[in-house]
Symmetry: C3
Subunit: 163 residues, 3 copies
């Protein structure tokens, strides 16, 4: 292989890493509009078929259970009242065809009897991701509210330990 | 064309896509410091000359009207009191020389008679963008407060539908 | 040098710029889980050995002083009570081996006698960064609360002026 061909090969690998990083950030950024629009068919595109969304009081396994949550009175009630599931940029570590992203999210709700909004909760999020047929999907998302519980702090600690 | 030359050509296209994505995220991230500094000349760099910023109660068309908003008593009053227009990462879809980004923003204000801050509103944002002479600019930004109004939810649904 | 070799050379430079941008965003995103986990050894990975973290009432110089802050009763008390240091995407300008990133952060705390959370403060952040042995680190991070003080607004204005 010529020098140029070898350099091109190495460059292609670096571009692949950049594409992977951006695809993961993109997938996470897609969750927001999907969930706040209450569009269950969009929301499940984030997860693999048997993907898990494990929140403090509710563990959803597979698309059907996630669809049920998005359509629930609780979630649709948030949307009717006014809500935003707001995400910060995730910290991403990629290892071949799997990755972990760690970030926090806020659930902000419209005040029912006032003009303003309230931060209902701040949550630690761990996204375990897998690349399948060239596309990144979430296999397990674990969310724990940051109200002092050790589990939520430990989730962030795991994310910070990789670096 | 040799194999290597063809590979380089394909690689250049992939790098272009990555540059486009980062340029758009960068433009959106630039809005924050510009608007919270009250720097109208910086803010208008985000939009094309005839760009539109369409907020619930105020539709601004072109640089002059956006400059007027930034210099208004209302906006300068927020800055004097203490404020942050905080953005989450946008979900971006590029189609050639145009793109759409969808995200939420928070307007956070200092409490007037207390130490803390209040989320005055959470807003759904749709940025329509165009690449002109190699530079991405916003042509239309539509912002609707997430207080339960259908228009705001529909704006997010449009953003989620593309994927 | 052949045409292809020259094109590859130019492409390698463009990929380097993209890698630099993502490495900086990544470093900033890493701060969140590290600080909210209260993991001082992780937090200091963000700064150079003699790096400065200059907050309104506390200027920390070097790793030891940052470690002390993370381990302090004040910071550990936030974690025990429930807290999130939430970051928005930064606006980044790179100039060779140095860079500046500007963004806002929120400190959100669990209400002590209620279910919800409160935005304790919104802060303007300026990150001065340097690439050392191929790795981006923060040399100076300056944080000023956005409560109307001129210093905080000026910090954002400096960030917006570069574009």
């Amino acid at each position: 292989m010529s020098d140029t061909a070898a350099l091109v090969q190495r460059l292609a690998e670096r571009v692949q890493v950049l594409e992977d990083r951006l695809a993961i950030l993109d997938l996470m950024a897609f969750y927001g509009p999907a969930v706040d629009a209450g569009d269950a068919e969009a929301v499940i595109k984030v997860w693999t078929e048997d993907g898990i969304y494990d929140v403090d009081k509710l563990k959803m396994v597979g698309h059907d259970e996630i669809i049920k949550m998005v359509g629930s009175d609780a979630h649709q009630g948030y949307i009717a009242r006014g809500c935003g599931h707001v995400l910060e940029p995730g910290y991403v570590e990629i290892d071949g065809d799997t990755a972990v992203a760690t970030c926090k999210s806020q659930l902000i709700l419209k005040d029912e009897d006032a003009d303003g909004f309230t931060v209902a909760r701040v949550t630690a999020n761990r996204w375990e991701l897998r690349k399948i047929d060239g596309e990144w999907k979430c296999t397990v998302r674990t969310s724990r509210v940051l109200d002092g519980r050790a589990e939520a702090v430990e989730l962030l600690a795991r994310g910070a330990r990789g670096r």
